[in-house]
Symmetry: C2
Subunit: 331 residues, 2 copies
């Protein structure tokens, strides 16, 4: 303690939390003392006293997929605006591991949790009874922020239809209906039926590794080639990573993207722009997703402080509109 300056700890404390409650003269003295003693404020002690860690826990499936590292990037960038620090865990799709992560986070008194992993059901998450928000996953019992996937499906179908496709295809895995991504399938389908487009929903599991993805998508492409010989086919892939793989497979065969194929991805992750032919994609507003997540979290945190958990009885679900990014795969 820096009372070797002659002040009481109270005064020092005031200097930390509200410097102007101390004489200007004494502010100087304390500042000098801190410098010469090389003393650093201990925020953990403050936490002991008032309970605010200003730390939030993040549980993400992995950093390998462009989408997740992109979201994490925007989450940690909110530090400038909200002041929260982030302890980050990568989930590895193992429920017990994630439970341990959450325990650890709770032991550190993080003020809230941001969950991107799909491993634990929202019912279990809500039972922890702490401020929490999920992003793009099943969210029945917890607050969440998601992209309007239904709208995204419609946008994808619309652009493919406008680009003169005879048949519209959407490839997606067998997503449960309670996951936001399911909306993409529904939106795509509804558009096609209303507008009497020929369409085909391909439910395929392309696996978890790149090699599995590649093999699965190649298979799908070859079937499609065989089936729609003289037609212009539009393909809406479930994310940009898969769209890029499909694009590469086609270009490897033809040397370029032939007019008969149109491709739309999802996410607007960097790869969509940097692909050999820039990919048209239904873009998620990742910056806004991160910001909304923080806002929902702060609402909950404040409710907790005021001991008004009623505010949280109904989960808040924020839905953000996707933005179609037109690039060269739909020309």
């Amino acid at each position: 303690m820096a009372e070797y300056t002659g002040f009481s700890k109270t005064t020092i404390s005031r200097y930390f939390s509200n410097p102007d409650s101390v004489t200007l003269e004494n502010q100087d003295k304390i500042a000098h003392a801190l410098e010469t003693l090389n003393y650093k404020e201990n925020k953990l002690a403050r936490v002991m006293a008032n309970g605010k860690t200003e730390i939030i826990g993040v549980i993400i499936p992995n950093l390998y997929m462009h989408y997740y590292s992109n979201v994490l990037d925007h989450i940690i960038s909110t530090y400038e605006k909200y002041g929260y620090k982030f302890i980050v865990f990568a989930g590895k799709d193992d429920a017990d591991v994630e439970r341990r992560y959450i325990s650890e986070l709770l032991a550190y008194k993080t003020e809230g949790l941001i969950v991107l992993s799909h491993t634990l059901p929202s019912k279990e998450l809500s039972a922890y009874n702490i401020p929490l928000v999920t992003i793009e996953r099943e969210d029945k019992y917890v607050c969440s922020v998601n992209t309007d996937n239904y709208m995204g499906g419609i946008q994808a179908a619309t652009i493919l239809s406008k680009s003169g496709c005879d048949i519209l295809i959407h490839a997606n895995s067998d997503v449960p209906e309670d996951v936001p991504a399911y909306g993409r399938i529904k939106g795509f389908k509804n558009f096609c039926e209303k507008n009497k487009c020929d369409y085909n929903i391909l439910i395929r599991d392309f696996g978890k590794t790149y090699d599995e993805n590649y093999a699965g998508i190649k298979n799908m492409f070859e079937e499609t080639e065989a089936k729609y010989i003289n037609k212009t086919v539009g393909i809406f892939m479930s994310n940009d990573t898969h769209a890029n793989i499909l694009l590469n497979i086609i270009i490897k065969k033809y040397g370029k993207l032939p007019d008969k194929y149109k491709i739309v991805g999802f996410d607007n992750s960097p790869i969509s722009k940097e692909a050999i032919v820039p990919i048209t994609t239904v873009g998620q507003q990742v910056d806004k997703i991160a910001d909304e997540a923080m806002q929902i979290l702060t609402v909950q945190i404040n409710a907790f402080k005021k001991r008004k958990p009623e505010l949280l009885s109904k989960p808040i679900h924020k839905v953000l509109t996707p933005i179609l990014i037109r690039r060269e795969t739909t020309r």
Copy 2:
């Protein structure tokens, strides 16, 4: 406090830190009490008492580049082995911002720092006088773990030479000599001179954004095309992201990778494998880099606890051998 179980806090404390120092019978009682009271251990209070936060701060330039998110992924995965949690900041190339991040981290009593950003000179970092390790950056006054870039330069030149190139080109930015990446240039050059290969070091700044990268690399490629008409040219790019851009430019022109071009990247980041033609690359052993960083950090942390800062008088510099990954751009 859970003494409403009848035990003293000491006993409860023992249960947390070393359950077996309590009777089996009492372990049960306490466990039950914790459950019914929904009581969570408070590790921050422990920190107050014994000083160990088990938190490490990470300062990374961004999560946008594949290499950095890849490294971060491996760093946070060391939790399983070392038990340290990580608070992550993205630096944004602003020195003052990074200084604020470090202050914040110090106020939270993180036990150490891992620095990947290049913004602050190692001399300044070392002045903070806390356990710290850098990865692939200037490291004169601090501990570090780096890839053997000199060896990497040699590996790249060797494979290009073996693949029958008449002229070997290495494109890199104007890296200062004290940055590890400079070794790549030196290694490449030395190999060429010893083996009397025709070579050319192109010092180019390709900029920070993808669009700048693309324009710069396209320029470089067109010059090269004009200059070496009937030769087989081997190009060693300074990282996989750039190698991939070059590859795309070439394929866009020729529809495939012509025999006259051979390409080698650096890092072995995911993009090198997932490129339209899988790219041969000098691979960094990212998993080992993360592990070595943690080991160096724990050595320092222990030295700090024992108040033996002599151990840190000479910075430890760990150098890891790169591994050449042969793929299809050098066939």
